[in-house]
């Protein structure tokens, strides 16, 4: 797993430069609660040898709006909609209610919840 550091401002640009549908496979988007900050991760794998996994990661504060990559990776909307509910973060173009019921207190995977 090779990790590439990026930031919220440049993630669209970085992934847009990196991602080629013929070569890379977008797996999933993930977030880890580090206490004060969240680590947002985008996982890609390669179709060709050596089949390694590339991870983009960016640090974000919990109330930041995270740019969406669905204009680059068409199937990313599922992962983004899930993360909005589970981590209680804001992602462009994703609304709450995909995973959890509307009356549920969202963000169950955050540490302070």
């Amino acid at each position: 797993m090779n990790k590439i550091a990026t930031s919220l401002d440049t993630v669209q640009e970085d992934i847009g430069r990196f991602y080629d549908p013929e070569q890379h496979h977008f797996m999933v988007m993930n977030a880890v609660d580090l206490g004060q900050q969240l680590e947002i991760q985008w996982f890609f794998s390669h179709y060709a040898p050596p089949y390694d996994t590339t991870t983009f990661f960016a640090l974000a504060s919990p109330d930041a709006t995270i740019p969406s990559i669905r204009s680059i990776v068409a199937s990313a909307w599922v992962a983004e909609a899930e993360l909005v509910d589970l981590m209680d973060i804001r992602i462009e173009g994703s609304e709450k209610g995909f995973v959890l019921e509307p009356d549920f207190d969202s963000g169950p995977l955050r540490k302070n919840k």
Binding site: M1, P21, E22, H25, F26, M27, V28, N30, V32, D33, Q41, F43, S45, Y47, P49, Y51, T53, T55, V73, A74, S75, W77, V78, A79, L86, F98, V99, L100, P108, L109
Partner: protein
């Protein structure tokens, strides 16, 4: 423009094993738009794995993510935990894991084929396939002690050894199964009635599959040669055990059936190779370390690529565990592949996706 109707399917429906809701917008029987709601079975396993259970218990909890591919989940978790603990497991344990994964793949693929037959309206073939499937359940029970939820992989190795008489029984039952598989393959390949519901239905192209990051038999049926068994050799030596890639080109329900049938042959040859060449080593590596750092693992479950991300913090309880199930990657393409098909074909198409919602929702 013709009038549009909205037809809901689910959450409870005769053609669905699991709660899954599709809302089809149809125009004269043709589906023009689909909405999917796949999170009926969200339970919150990721949270419980990071708070309630110790890291050695988690391998039993993640098996309950999905009953169809529980061995894939326990194995993938065990591998990612072994990466965090920085231990290498014995070779016999790797081979036994592969053996159970392949037997599980046989039972899962046969279940999917029977389900496609039932949803296409071919009840007799459903019964026949389910009857032939029982041998794999009995073999899994003989090896692991339970028909489903095997709890076979543990952190550091496997829980049970393979007895020589059970190994002989596996080979004998596989020999017995081969003519039955020939019969099934003949029906699925050549039956005219089934082909009416299956050929050219629910098709996606290779370009769509690439664009929407499809995995598993769904992608291989569209001509996209993606299989984790072809890639990694260090965690589980698939190529050494005789793995071959299976692809089709047309991407429709028929092609998915064919991919599954041909993968059954590959699985059978892998199982034979494993049993004939099983190394004589211990089955568990003991360690007293605690998980530290972060790691990812990919594994080919019956439905496609399974992905685990784990982060440890040198305590008994993991910091974060992320599970990406195969159907999760396919949701975007599942919605897309309905477009242009008749509403009457929808149950067969749903079954041919082989959706596993309890994996997706966790």
């Amino acid at each position: 423009m013709a009038q549009q109707y909205e037809i809901p399917v689910g959450a409870q429906h005769i053609s669905l094993l699991e709660p899954l809701h599709f809302k089809f917008t149809t125009e004269n029987e043709k589906i023009v738009h689909t909405d999917a709601n796949v999170y009926y079975v969200h339970r919150g396993i990721e949270k419980a794995c990071c708070t309630k259970f110790k890291f050695r218990q988690v391998s039993f909890v993640v098996g309950r993510v999905c009953g169809l591919c529980s061995i894939s989940h326990t194995t993938a978790y065990s591998q990612v935990a072994e990466k965090l603990l920085k231990i290498e497991i014995p070779k016999r344990a790797k081979y036994l894991r592969m053996l159970v994964i392949e037997l599980d793949r046989i039972h899962s693929h046969l279940l999917c084929l029977s389900h496609v037959a039932e949803n296409s309206g071919f009840e007799a073939l459903f019964m026949k396939t389910m009857q032939y499937r029982e041998f794999s359940m009995e073999l899994l029970e003989a090896i692991c002690g339970n028909r489903i939820q095997y709890d076979f992989s543990i952190v550091g190795g496997v829980a049970r050894d393979l007895k020589p008489e059970v190994a002989n029984q596996v080979l004998r039952r596989l020999d017995h199964f081969m003519p039955q598989l020939e019969e099934l393959a003949d029906i699925f390949r050549n039956n005219w009635t089934l082909s009416l519901k299956n050929k050219g239905v629910g098709a996606i192209s290779r370009e769509t599959a690439l664009r929407l990051n499809v995995v598993g038999p769904f992608a291989r049926a569209a001509g996209l040669a993606v299989d984790v068994r072809n890639e990694t050799e260090d965690l589980l030596p698939w190529k050494e055990a005789g793995f071959e890639m299976v692809t089709e080109t047309s991407g429709d329900v028929y092609a998915r059936n064919m991919v599954r049938i041909r993968e059954l042959y590959v699985s059978i040859s892998i199982i034979r190779n494993i049993i004939n060449g099983l190394p004589e080593t211990p089955i568990v590596t003991e360690t007293k370390a605690f998980p530290d750092g972060e790691a990812v693992v990919r594994l080919e479950a019956p439905r496609g690529e399974l992905f685990y991300y784990a982060k440890g913090n040198k305590t008994q309880v993991l910091e974060r565990l992320k599970i990406k199930a195969p159907t999760f990657s396919n949701v975007a393409a599942m919605v897309e592949a309905f477009r242009g098909n008749e509403y009457g074909s929808a149950p067969a198409i749903i079954a041919s996706y082989d959706p596993c919602l309890s994996c997706t929702a966790r």
